[in-house]
């Protein structure tokens, strides 16, 4: 398999803030590579360097065998970029936007229609509507169409599903999977953990540092301890009580339950009785399988600690 992106020791600061610290990673051809991390982790900065919009202070990045600093001219012909903010012309229609981006790349809608047909067909009935008047999901489809219209070899998507409804999000990932058949490498960032599992490889990023890079399943497996899911009527009270429990190693809220690791074997009974003593009603404790989010929180904690 071919390496499409190779980043070594990328650093970038904005004044006092060190946005990226020594970022190294490689992306293989036709992979969907995800950057997962909270807001302000440095995802957008990294993507701006990747798409030749910003110069790194240290380190080098090669994309498609071209240096992002020296080879930017050639590289821009082969990158499709969808910024986090909707960046198409809101006062042009759907079709005018697509046509415009096709022409600046020296191509036409017709020429690459097969590549975008799956996506564009959803919005084609509204092609005379102004882009600014579209719904969030439709804007996203238009932006993706515009990013693909010149048949790029690599597609960079900065938080494409932020602010998009759940149905459109699911549809969107199906579309991305299909693009793999066209040998397009996809680099995507997201703050949503559930989307991490849909990538071929993910990098967990926080405070400008990559905490882990691996297949999502492997990252998940990196969680080596036994994880318990605790439920009770009053979640906040439960959380406080568990923090008081002397053997607690870590505890964090997870959906409608609380995830807990402890420094003892088979803690179910003792935890339960401790909780009841603390006044938590009807506690339930079960062994559970760790998700990627659990691993991420664990990594974050060890990084901060």
């Amino acid at each position: 398999m071919q390496t499409v992106v190779e980043s070594t020791g990328i650093c970038k600061s904005f004044g006092e803030t060190r946005a990226l610290k020594n970022i190294s990673f490689t992306v293989d051809e036709s992979d969907i590579f995800g950057f997962i991390g909270p807001d302000g982790a440095g995802k957008t900065t990294l993507f701006r360097i990747l798409t030749t919009l910003m110069l790194p202070e240290e380190g080098t990045m090669t994309v498609l065998g071209l240096d992002t600093v020296k080879g930017f001219k050639e590289l821009r012909k082969n990158i499709g970029y969808m910024p986090g903010r909707f960046s198409l012309y809101q006062d042009l229609t759907v079709e005018e936007n697509l046509k415009f981006y096709a022409t600046v790349f020296g191509t036409s809608i017709k020429e690459n229609y097969d590549l975008i047909s799956d996506i564009y067909s959803h919005i084609e009935p509204f092609k005379d509507k102004l882009a600014g008047k579209l719904s969030g999901g439709m804007k996203q489809k238009l932006a993706l169409s515009c990013a693909l219209i010149h048949k790029p070899k690599i597609l960079v998507l900065d938080e494409p599903t932020t602010g998009v409804d759940a149905v459109s999000r699911a549809e969107f990932w199906i579309m991305l999977k299909k693009l793999r058949d066209h040998k397009i490498t996809i680099i995507v960032s997201t703050p949503y953990m559930d989307e991490a599992m849909r990538c071929d490889k993910v990098a967990l990023i926080q405070n400008g540092t990559i905490l882990a890079i691996n297949q999502p399943i492997k990252i998940k497996e990196g969680f080596s301890r036994k994880l318990y899911s605790v439920k009770a009527d009053e979640k906040y009270k439960l959380l406080l009580a568990l923090k008081k429990y002397p053997k607690t190693s870590s505890v964090w809220p997870f959906g409608d339950s609380v995830h807990l690791t402890v420094n003892e074997e088979d803690p179910e009974e003792s935890v339960k009785s401790f909780l009841e003593k603390e006044g938590v009603k009807y506690p339930e404790i079960n062994l559970t399988e760790a998700g990627i989010e659990d691993r991420f929180l664990e990594l974050m904690k060890s990084e901060n600690g």
């Binding site: 910024p83 903010r85 909707f86 042009l92 005018e96 981006y101 600046v104 790349f105």
Partner: protein
């Protein structure tokens, strides 16, 4: 080149899609011309007088009648109280108090010099000076009458005088509209080139579309050219529109070559578009741009000599005008339109403008390359 063409097509599509801007681009010059050209004038049509006649003789009545008879003066108030007269002046009800002391008429007859006192509201120095000059004119006319009357009654004294005959060149009727119109044309073109173009540029930054363009193979120079050309064309169309209005509504003479006018404005537009682009690279939103652009506009326009002659400005101001594109176009427009100056007469201005245009544009391109 094809890319530039596509970019320009996109600009026009956006400009004319915007219902307000699309119409305003052609509506504003018409309104601006029709309002400003007839409104702005330094001519003084009415000087309101307050007369304090403490003399009440045929001589004093004669002077007041003479003032009333002139087209400039209107006797609004008469009073015997100096205090009241000053109060009227204070309340802006009159511009000038003429105080005729008692004994005025008697002194004229006796051969002694007669005295009157004029108090002028000098808040606006040029109005004050003009009113004073007009008053002087009327009084010296009145003086001549007294002298000639006396000549008739007394023995003949030969009077030797210098007779002055004057003729006003280039604007024989001293028509202020003719003077203002070429200047207003400059403001018009400046507004299009500086405000519209710059705001358009900043808007792409503000809404993030420039990000998307920057990842495409579109080169910076192509993008900049495509931003400049539409506004250059719109500016020239507005200039044509302004000149047509000048001809139809105000019958302003076109002594010189219209082509030369367009040449001047084209170079000027490139200069202000360059400056607009330069300022836009410093601004991250339209509000910031507006504020800075407004500052530049006011300084450039007021120092250009549109209202007050640039030649009488202090030395440093005249030096500043060497880099003020508005000042050059102001001169070019007036010289070509009213004097019929040929290219050789305005060569210095054209060359200076061209140098400014090249400088501003290259600063802008360089700065733009660095920031985006």
């Amino acid at each position: 080149m094809r890319t530039v063409f596509y970019l320009i097509r996109k600009e026009f599509l956006q400009i004319f899609r915007n219902k307000f801007i699309g119409k305003a681009i052609f509506g504003v010059p018409i309104i601006q011309m029709l309002i400003l050209v007839p409104a702005i004038t330094f001519e003084i049509k009415h000087v309101n007088l307050c007369i304090i006649d403490n003399d009440l003789t045929p001589e004093s009545r004669g002077l007041v009648n003479k003032l009333e008879g002139s087209t400039f003066f209107v006797v609004k108030y008469s009073t015997w109280s100096e205090k009241e007269a000053l109060a009227i002046l204070h309340r802006n009800k009159c511009n000038l108090i003429l105080n005729i002391p008692s004994g005025f008429g008697r002194d004229i007859g006796s051969g002694k010099p007669s005295k009157i006192l004029a108090s002028v509201d000098a808040i606006n120095a040029s109005t004050a000076q003009l009113s004073w000059a007009y008053l002087n004119g009327v009084i010296s006319d009145y003086n001549m009458n007294i002298v000639t009357e006396n000549i008739n009654t007394n023995q003949v004294i030969p009077l030797s005088m210098i007779q002055v005959t004057n003729r006003y060149w280039y604007n024989e009727m001293l028509n202020y509209k003719h003077y203002m119109l070429p200047g207003i044309l400059v403001i018009l073109v400046t507004a299009i080139g500086f405000l519209l173009a710059g705001l358009n540029m900043v808007r792409e930054k503000e809404i993030g579309t420039i990000e998307q363009i920057n990842v495409t193979p579109v080169r910076k120079w192509q993008f900049i050219t495509a931003k400049m050309i539409p506004f250059l064309l719109i500016g020239l169309v507005d200039l044509a529109l302004g000149m047509i209005i000048g001809k139809i509504a105000f019958n302003v003479p076109f002594e010189g070559s219209i082509l030369l006018m367009f040449l001047g404005s084209t170079i000027f537009l490139i200069a202000v578009l360059g400056l607009a682009l330069f300022v836009s690279t410093f601004s991250s939103n339209q509000q910031q741009y507006m504020f800075v652009a407004f500052f530049f506009m006011i300084v450039f326009v007021l120092m250009s000599g549109i209202f007050t002659p640039a030649e009488s400005m202090p030395d440093w101001a005249q030096k500043f005008n060497m880099v003020n594109p508005v000042a050059y176009l102001m001169r070019i427009n007036r010289m070509v339109m009213l004097k019929g100056s040929a290219f050789s007469d305005i060569r210095r201005e054209i060359i200076s403008l061209a140098v400014i245009a090249v400088c501003f544009t290259s600063f802008a391109v360089r700065k733009y390359r660095k920031t985006a």
